[in-house]
Symmetry: C2
Subunit: 568 residues, 2 copies
């Protein structure tokens, strides 16, 4: 068989990355990253509203051009690579990141009439301006269409499709009226590559539709016009300008259009895979299978698990979504996530302590010399709200247990621990509902570089922490999807499992729970859970807050008295 290659393109929060991958073994031949030039590291902000986060669609298009060209050019320096052996392209993106488009499927923001209007740009996943709309949608759905909420955890989020579009209608009705349709970034890029020029022709992925837009084949697609009418008549009218059907990965979103083929020097008509969210393709690129819990650890964290569609699984309260085919066809994709992980550490080290890379390294080295429980601190990891399992963007951070001797490294470690406890809450919730989790695979820079972070996670969750072989699991997953979409005849694969077996891997290094640390963290997790439920407003929460500080001091004394030395 001739060698064959696919391209994976990963649209992150601050940059887009393209990789060229050898289908035979998943080896990356070329990679290129393009930092979005607009706003603050690619994010358009509003000084008057900390909840606002938008992106300039022009950055996406320039980023597509530059990153793919760069990756191909790098691959060209590898022996044997030929552009005419590229058989497909896959794309993953952040989400829900909807953008308003005109009748030719072009982003409104590219039109000079709208380019100054932040509402006409892409509404980045972490935009939290739509909290009121999200609350109303939850309320109305709970009353009139509870089935819509069941598979998405029971609460509609301000980060999602309908909240954002409705908020646009409320605060920028001119933009709403000017939009022919709205498109998820995950669908926009494949459609762009395929040369789609009508919004109704954009092929929509079920991962965005099912997890963010209350789409399900069970009720025939998007929420009914009658339901949308309850929100606003204009949303009901928009429904017919959106889509009727959404698809799992594996079928093509289109074929590479002649102008893009020419731009990149690639064969015209090669397969464009279905777009997908970064976390979902990251799970594919991390070798997800039944029983695997994949954590894409970045500024925030997305967690994925799958369960065969033949296992009828229950709706899981607080879990962002359970969608047939959203990760791989034939499986329910289960998605959860934490709104801030790397971002909390970055906040602490950079915004509060005023340091940079070297302080990250210093604090992480100091933190690694502390024993679990030794600082007497406990934190809640809610600086950016709580996505799972409380689904409340209005929650905020908390640190307690400080004395006059508490150091910045102790707080740094307490913040890592808080995110680990937050992760454990998610794992426990999924297990409670009958989905087995017997291994945890992490990917992302923190997983690869921050050993103290990974050890704390192993100890706090009580599971070995494995690391995805590729540092770019989402892009690799998109490339895997492209290889499956292109098919075995073209040099790709007939099945997902075969593609994953050949193209993905795990690192040898892994982190194993330490029994003593586990015992302390079990106790601290109990206290975390009390605070979590009390401040999270969980109905019937029972916390003995009057003893929390004393209990932490008691853990601290035992940790200090423990014969075990500090851990490396």
């Amino acid at each position: 068989m001739n060698s064959a290659y696919t391209i994976g393109i990963d649209y992150g929060t601050n940059s887009v990355r393209a990789i060229v991958v050898d289908c035979s073994d998943g080896r990356v031949l070329g990679t290129s990253v393009f930092d979005y030039p607009s706003g603050d590291h690619g994010v358009l902000l509003d000084a008057g509203d900390v909840h606002l986060a938008r992106q300039n669609p022009a950055d996406y298009i320039e980023g597509l051009r530059m990153s793919v060209a760069g990756a191909l050019s790098a691959a060209g320096r590898e022996a044997g690579f030929r552009r005419d052996r590229v058989i497909g392209i896959g794309v993953d993106t952040t989400g829900s990141t909807p953008l308003p488009v005109d009748a030719r499927a072009r982003p409104l923001a590219l039109d000079p009439r709208w380019s100054k209007n932040l509402a006409a740009h892409a509404w980045l996943w972490k935009d939290h301006t739509s909290a009121d709309e999200a609350a109303r949608i939850t309320e109305i759905a709970a009353r009139h269409a509870p089935e819509y909420l069941a598979p998405i955890g029971g609460t509609y989020s301000s980060e999602w499709w309908w909240s954002k579009i409705w908020h646009c209608l409320n605060v920028a009705p001119d933009v709403f009226d000017a939009a022919e349709s709205w498109v998820e970034l995950a669908d926009f890029i494949p459609a762009l590559l395929a040369g789609v020029t009508r919004p109704r022709d954009v092929v929509r992925c079920v991962c965005a539709a099912g997890h963010k837009a209350m789409y399900s084949e069970v009720w025939g697609g998007l929420p009914s016009a009658a339901f949308l009418e309850r929100l606003h008549p204009k949303l009901a009218a928009l429904r017919s300008r959106l889509y009727d059907e959404a698809w799992p990965p594996g079928r093509p979103a289109g074929q590479l259009a002649p102008e893009w083929a020419e731009t990149f020097g690639l064969p015209e008509g090669i397969a464009i895979a279905m777009g997908g969210f970064d976390a979902h393709y990251g799970a594919v690129g991390s070798g997800i299978q039944t029983g695997t819990f994949v954590k894409i650890v970045g500024t925030s964290t997305c967690d994925c698990a799958i369960a065969p569609v033949s296992d009828r699984i229950a709706d899981i309260p607080g879990i962002c979504g359970i969608v047939n085919g959203s990760i791989m066809p034939g499986y329910f994709g289960i998605e959860a996530g934490q709104s801030a992980v790397g971002d909390i550490l970055k906040w602490w080290v950079e915004t509060v302590c005023g340091g940079g890379e070297s302080l990250h390294a210093e604090l992480s080295a100091e933190a690694s010399r502390l024993r679990p429980g030794q600082s007497g601190l406990l934190a809640l990891d809610w600086n950016n709200g709580n996505r799972t399992i409380l689904v409340d963007p209005r929650l905020t951070g908390l640190i307690l247990g400080q004395t006059l001797h508490t150091t910045r490294a102790e707080i740094y470690r307490a913040l890592i621990e808080a995110t680990a406890f937050g992760a454990r809450v998610i794992v426990e919730r999924i297990r409670e509902y009958g989905v087995a989790i017997d291994r945890v695979v992490c990917c992302g820079g923190i997983a690869e570089k921050n050993d103290v972070f990974m050890q704390i996670y192993a100890d706090a969750i009580g599971q070995p922490m494995l690391i995805a072989g590729s540092p770019q699991a989402p892009a690799l997953g998109a490339a895997v999807s492209a290889a499956v979409t292109a098919g075995a005849d073209a040099g790709g694969y007939a099945t997902w499992s075969e593609a994953q077996r050949r193209m993905t891997s795990l690192k040898e290094k892994q982190f194993t729970p330490d029994p003593d640390a586990r015992a302390i963290y079990d106790e601290l997790h109990g206290i975390y859970r009390e605070l979590h439920d009390a401040f999270g407003g969980v109905r019937g929460a029972r916390a003995d807050l009057g003893t929390v500080m004393r209990r932490l001091l008691s853990v601290r004394q035992r940790a200090a008295a423990s014969p075990a030395g500090a851990r490396a």
Copy 2:
């Protein structure tokens, strides 16, 4: 009348300061500060126990010599000053700071046999090693002698006399056995100046005895031997080696001994005033009278009020003490305090943010540009426990409301606000029990230098904040006491009110509450109080924690929307 002078000597946590004062108008002619050379800025620490804080008595004695000599030498450069017109010496100190002494009233720590043993040194006020003993004393007194607890707020503290002496007996019985007696630092220095050589001859001040050692004329002095026997037979045996009676200020603790007169070139036999705690003499030096609440704001804060003994006032739960004559004769002295105020800001700026003086100034300037409520943060000021009104050294700090945008200046301001809310809880508790407070006078470096701090206090407490005229109110109060003790015939005063009227003053600058800020702080104080009671373990506390974070966001949104500009 010939001019007359007194000397005030103030033993602080890190240094001792002496001032030479003109009795006619309170003018300071000379001042000198001696930094204790031992330990960490004068505090002996134990790396294995963060609760331990001791001091080397040799520092006290060298400090006495150096500071008084320095102040006299500085005064000598002022026209008209003559050492032979010095008519008395007053001393104030931290407390409860007991030290074990031998049969000749010399500190054990000065004996080479004991100098390496931390238990033989002075047990600094903020030593918190004796929490278990304090809890036991509270428990036993509650059962067998509740009258002992009533005037000291209902809870015996780990910072106090009996807790510390008992802890010494428990952890260093050899030191306990070697001690003939124990002496408060406030009594030790006057006795040293008076040449006292037997522990039973040390004249004891009622301010230490009444506030810290459960002494009261009502039950005939110290706790009964029968009560002490319940703690430990050796404590009962110690009782007879301590004292039978304690005295208010106004009568002499002794006369200046010949060797010290010679050392300083002062007249032999001049009056040595009764020793007293820094806060109490600070209140005198700040012009305390009925209706005045004096706050000595430093690393921690001591608060004082007085009420005429003719007003029978009730015991006030959680208030450290109500003692007849402890501040001025004829008045109940009411003492309260916060375990950390300046220390919390120092912790934040220096330990966490890694800055120094310039960062203090920078954060305080930035904090002054923030509006009340604007940060969305709320903190508890318990990094060093809570002295009043919870009396629990095992409480710890808490910060909540953080987002990924929270700045260090916002947290700095939130920590100031937390201490202001803590101060308000104290004012409210004292008022609840019928003691009027109609003006607040602050003294200490923070009061003089940190305008944003003072404005926040005015707004959060809802009272104008006045500033004591002297930056060294405690030393000035000790000098006032010396002038009263010396008496009118010697060139001093016959009454306290006359001495205060002539020797103390207020600064013209004062801080007035802003109505808008007050309204926001009233709301935030309500939330503070919920957290305070919940985490403080107050019986029957009712907190709606599930909405706290959302309510803070709501305050924040209103603060941001308020038409008023940021305040200077």
